[in-house]
Every structure is written in structure tokens, then in C-alpha cells.
Symmetry: C2
Subunit: 164 residues, 2 copies
């Protein structure tokens, strides 16, 4: 059981702890493993159109995601999201719920599609989850991700038209 | 005959005139047709790693391009470029020369690949030119570009590994 709501400033310490630990693994997200707190605050809170958190009933942070335009101007009808789930909350459907929530939010904001630009091909759990939620693999980028254990690996572009 | 060199501040008035006229057509680049000069200066001069110009021997601006990282951190070994050729300079090989130049520059900076994120599928001249210069179509984004005459059209993701 959890709820998803908009970010508020008091969420930041828990989000930073989660993002810092997650990005340090260097196997899923492009953010440099040694990214500073200020850089990640900019990327996760200041630049996106909206930031969200998934919380347990006791307020514990289970996950967080961001929603933004994927391109400016004439590509601004396509949204982009990034999701992070707390290690202790894996397997509870948090990523799935955040992705469904993000699609509703994107539709409400007028977006016509959602694009993921850099899904690490070796992250098969994520690829399967996004496919299950209606996203198609529309592109494959050769050796576009510098995996911290595996070296250069392919990344996928995934896409879903949101309909109305 | 033309030369390609780094941007200098005195180039801006001619570049802005070219970019403003180009983006107003709304058929090739994502920048909104009504983008302000300040917004385009940020996008074309401040945010990229480097900005270049192609000039005729008399100094006239024939084209301009930008070079940047396509992703942060673990995707930062992939470069991204955007090129604009002056209408009066079409057909002289300016785009081709700028693309070749950008690949040399990107290699020299240590990039391993170059990615174009949003090549408008109806811009067949550009698609064929990039293919001729070694780029592959690695993805197709359904209706990802809002063409000002044709409505929503597909966009292509194009990619080239730069080798060494």
C-alpha cells in the first residue's frame, strides 16, 4: 500500500539519499555516479515540469519520478519520465504504479506520447516492465551506455502514444 | 569555397537572423517557431560545448552547427550535433562539410559516437545525407514532430559510432 503525490521540499533529504545510492551503482541511469547533490537537485527538482514521490502510509519514501518535455517546441507534445524505486521497496509494484501515474499526469497535461531515451538494454526487468505497460522498443543505440560493471552496452529508446 | 571555425561573439547577429528564419518554417528543427532571441542564444551558444560557423571567403555566414554531449555522465561519450545551412548556400556541400567537421571535432574531444535525436522523417534530403555520411537510422518515433504544414509526422533517431 502506497500513495503517489507531488514532491515537496521536505522530501529532498530522503530523495537525495535514494538517488545518490541508486546512481552510484552506475548500471541504470546516465547520471554520473559521483554527481553532486546540487547537480541532482537541479536535474530532479528544478528542471523537470513536475517531481513526484511514492510513499508508504507511514510516510517512508518508496520511490520518486520526474516528468518533463522530451524536446522543446515542435517536439514538446512528447513527454519523458525517469523513475527510481527504493531497494527495500522492489517487487511491490511501485515502478509500475509510478509509470501508470505518470501516464495519467502526462495525458492531463496534454502530452500525446511518452518517450524513454536511454533504457539500458541489460536492465531486462525494466524493459519487460515498460513493454508490459504498453511501451514499444522503437530504437537501439549501440554501446550508448557506459555500464560500471559491463562496460559499453546498448541502450533502447522506448515509446508509447498516450491516446486520449 | 568556405571555411569552418569556432564561433565568436561578433557572429551572433548573422547567426540569429539565420536561425530565426530557419526555425520559423517549423519543418526541420524542434525549436518553437516563435522562440525568442535569448532562448535561442542559450540553446545555440551557451548550452553546447562548442558552436561553429561556416563562412565564405568574404566572411558571409553560410551555416552554423553546435556540438554537445547527448546525455550526462554514463551517456556522455555520445555526442549530439545540430546543423543549419543558409538558404542561399544550399547545394554547396556546406551541411556535408559541417557534419564531417563535427565528427572530427567530436573524435578529438574523445566522443565515441554521435546521435541525432529528432531527424524529421519527411526531411528526406537530410536523412539521405546523414546516411551517406555513415549514420544509420536506429529508431523511429511515431508522430514525434509537429510539422507546421503536415501536422504530426514521425522522427528518426540516427547514430554513428565514430571509431578511432
Amino acid at each position: 500500500m502506497f500513495s503517489i503525490r507531488r514532491y515537496q521540499d521536505s522530501d529532498w533529504p530522503a530523495i537525495w539519499a535514494l538517488l545518490h545510492a541508486t546512481f552510484q551503482t552506475g548500471d541504470t541511469y546516465a547520471y554520473a555516479p559521483d554527481s553532486s547533490e546540487a547537480a541532482i537537485h537541479t536535474a530532479w527538482v528544478e528542471l523537470p515540469m513536475a517531481t513526484y514521490v511514492a510513499c508508504a502510509p507511514d510516510g517512508q519514501l518508496l520511490g520518486t519520478y520526474v516528468l518533463k518535455q522530451n524536446q522543446p517546441g515542435l517536439g514538446a507534445h512528447v513527454s519523458n519520465c525517469g523513475y527510481v524505486v527504493a531497494p527495500a521497496a522492489q517487487g511491490q509494484g511501485v515502478a509500475s504504479a509510478m509509470c501508470e501515474h505518470s501516464q495519467q499526469e502526462a495525458r492531463a497535461m496534454g502530452f500525446l506520447a511518452m518517450q524513454f531515451n536511454l533504457v539500458v538494454a541489460t536492465n531486462q526487468r525494466a524493459v519487460r516492465l515498460w513493454q508490459h505497460l504498453g511501451f514499444a522498443v522503437v530504437g537501439r543505440l549501440p554501446r550508448a551506455f557506459r555500464h560500471q560493471r559491463l562496460g559499453l552496452v546498448d541502450a533502447l529508446v522506448m515509446y508509447k502514444e498516450l491516446g486520449v
